[in-house]
Symmetry: C3
Subunit: 345 residues, 3 copies
């Protein structure tokens, strides 16, 4: 079980760090001010593809300016520029990482590096983070790194990249379907987009085998229109998130507060699941005190092995309570949370 | 072609080795007494998850007591306890393997080891079997080993684990979806369970590349109920077994004699397939005697290359006849079996 | 981006090199004389499974005789015999490769080697091509090699085989589902054939990561019949080709001129796609001259990163124009082609 101390990343919400509006930090600010179920576990100020080329400077300045005073409770992971096969992008990435660690190192949990190639390229990016960390006096490993898996080379080396994460600052693997499809030459045909089911399952497996977080790709058809009415595409997004949860991805990519609200809920234990697993653990611990090694609750036998899975539900719920107390309070009744807390101690 | 001398494992039927009934060996005994199509190719007395923690001793005793006098014709593979990340489970596994080899070594074909991790963990389990084999005077390699593939680490190392099987006592790879989903954090969403199609295809490929047997996971919704009537869920199970046969798994997991009866039939050549391939081989051998290198039967050209596939059908049917004569007699008419036997010599 | 100088293989059309007809080269000749959309990018004179065992000599002679004077504009890749586990097949393959390079080395782009096993077997075949090349005075690397991926061993070693292609004469990976299913023991069940979606996605990925061409497997149900009428199975084939294009395979296998005509169209940029990407590049280059790093066209932001994908569309269209000018002229209007050519320079 690699999930005993669950790392939360139910939602990975990117926010363009600068947009061509009067307040260029508009979306960054609203991400930092998000509340309730609209608050993502990871907020990702985006200096890369979400920001226009002529606004990269402003984007970096916005991040450096807004993070220190933000009241955001959750992890902050800016996405910088990078490309395994394009040096100017890597040079800008190095400058951005350096500036972020120098100016707001204590306010970020890590950086997100896109378009990495083979293992050697991932290690090249990690050295840049390590250099910045050392240069500005942070203890080794303070600043994490996550990568967007969106090139043929990264997928080819996925097992090695993930395994390196077991002993490095690498903490997350996030899927990037748009660039990935472009690099493979995949495209929409017959009205259907490519689906990468096998790759998502492998991402989930390798993340679990190495204690990393795995996150699915963005869903960009945010709004639909039919018979003259435009509406938030909530069903289609929830379908994708459910598919991702089914194969064990820890979280989903969000482009919008409504997507965040849905993905936060889908990736958390339901109230029924939590109640059921709390009941199972209570019964098992009672049986253990009474000298038996197993007990049957609601027709399911609970022993040392299955017990771990039930504990995991409880620990995830408690981690959510710590990171997003409003969400836990809304999802679970307080008596249930009390029982969970009693088991968690 | 790795399948020239086919190893049969159409059915991998687990039977709890001890249950809380007056006769704790009830299910073990009925497995050992199974007949006709309800007789599995591999019977797996289960000392692991199928047996309650406080009955493990009784389970081991039942196996040791019942095997010597059983009339069962087929392979016997007890499943012991194990866990790549939990030493007490491995200690019990070692004791169980030791006891089984010591007491009934000549009555078992091998042991099934669950929850293995990376290659090194599989090798650790193999050394325990080797030690027991040596301690009790069995020739090296007498006692086989199969593993349940149900952890992220085992899946990550699947290619290496399977390759090690080409030169070791490892003989089978069995999929364990319940623990696998739990470890990855996968779960039922939107009413659908996770499906691991890509993993099953890889399991089939790696087994074929290394001469191992590959088996699908259990189907636990044995019974359905609708409009007040409870019934054996035969359609849903057959769908799963057909899906497994399609990608070339050698066999399916069975939890019940009716599942065994279905999986045995689905994983064997149909009477029509056997008749067709016997006819093709006869025609090809005739053509060869006449000096031609190929012949066309029913519109299909038969040459040295395709010939191998047809031979494989015949050899599988003959292997079934040796292992389960009643099943062969029921599935194929005797004239057809005579022609197959003539080709097999 | 590994696709900047696109290698075309939209269609891989096999033609039996000898058939039992008055003119044994009938199908080879019609392949060599194909025109318009029925002309494949790669024509594959088949000395292997498409030719009967007693016609192998005639097949080789036909290829040697017909290639020198053929007006075919496109690549020519004869398929020879081979088998990783059967020496007589490899001996014949060696003789066929030797004869082809000796007699018509300047008229072939490479040879297609089927039924390869692990990496070492692929390298064994490559040495044979290298030996022939040297023996008959061709510069190293003149004669390419592509392999049919259709054994469990080749799939197990796919990553290593593809990686070797980055520095060797290996140029293409073609899927062979019939032999593959037979080797794994997969078969049609419940009226459905096995599908190997995960394997096709991996083939596409590894080809892209190493600059190789990836091609799907043959579709052999060429004709359907319903209510007494026999017809070309165009819908079912197009569905398969679209599925292959979706995951980024470069091309599809064709067994018939009508299949070639469909696959050529599906694997080329549509007129709308080309017009859109030409417009985007023109706007981006204009913006760059004006000193901006990005521009928005039809709601999509274009920068250095996305620009590459648009260039790729244009370069593919220009490559098609060079290889099959009739097809480009039919698919794109001449003003659009002029604009594409202007960008391509």
């Amino acid at each position: 079980m690699t999930t005993q101390t669950p790392r939360l990343c139910r939602t990975f919400q990117t926010a363009p760090a600068a947009v061509p509006k009067e307040n260029t930090a508009k979306y960054l600010e609203s991400g930092l001010a998000s509340e309730g179920f609209a608050k993502p576990d990871w907020l990702v100020p985006d200096v890369e593809d979400g920001t226009a080329p002529d606004m990269k400077e402003a984007a970096l300045e916005n991040v450096i300016d807004r993070l220190p005073d933000a009241a955001f409770v959750g992890e902050i992971w800016p996405r910088v520029e990078w490309s395994y096969d394009d040096e100017p992008f890597r040079d800008r990435g190095r400058e951005q990482i350096d500036a972020l660690v120098r100016e707001v190192g204590e306010h970020v949990d890590g950086v997100v590096v896109p378009k990495v190639g083979r293992l050697a390229d991932v290690e090249r990016a990690e050295r840049i983070v390590a250099d910045a960390e050392e240069a500005y006096g942070y203890p080794e490993g303070t600043v994490g790194m996550s990568v967007i898996v969106e090139t043929a080379r990264a997928v080819s080396d996925l097992r090695e990249i993930a395994a390196s994460g077991a002993t490095s600052r690498l903490e997350g693997l996030i899927f990037g379907p748009v660039d990935y499809a472009a690099e493979l030459g995949g495209r929409e045909t017959g009205g259907e987009r490519p689906r990468w089911d096998a790759l998502l399952a492998t991402l989930s497996n390798e993340a679990s085998a190495n204690g990393l977080v795995a996150v699915g790709g963005p869903f960009d058809r945010l709004f639909g229109e039919r018979a003259g009415v435009r509406f938030y595409n909530g069903d289609a997004y929830a379908d994708q998130v459910e598919r991702e949860a089914r194969v064990g991805l820890d979280g989903s990519w969000s482009l919008h507060p409504q997507q965040t609200a849905q993905a936060n809920r889908i990736h958390m234990p339901s109230s029924d699941e939590l109640a059921r697993d709390v009941r199972r653990i209570e019964a098992f611990e009672e049986a253990k005190s009474a000298g038996t090694g197993a007990v049957t609750v609601d027709g399911q036998m609970i022993d040392e092995a299955t017990y771990k899975n039930f504990r995991n539900t409880v620990e995830t719920a408690l981690a959510i309570e710590r990171a997003a107390p409003e969400q836990a309070a809304e999802a679970y009744d307080s008596a249930l949370l009390d029982r969970a807390r009693a088991l968690g101690e």
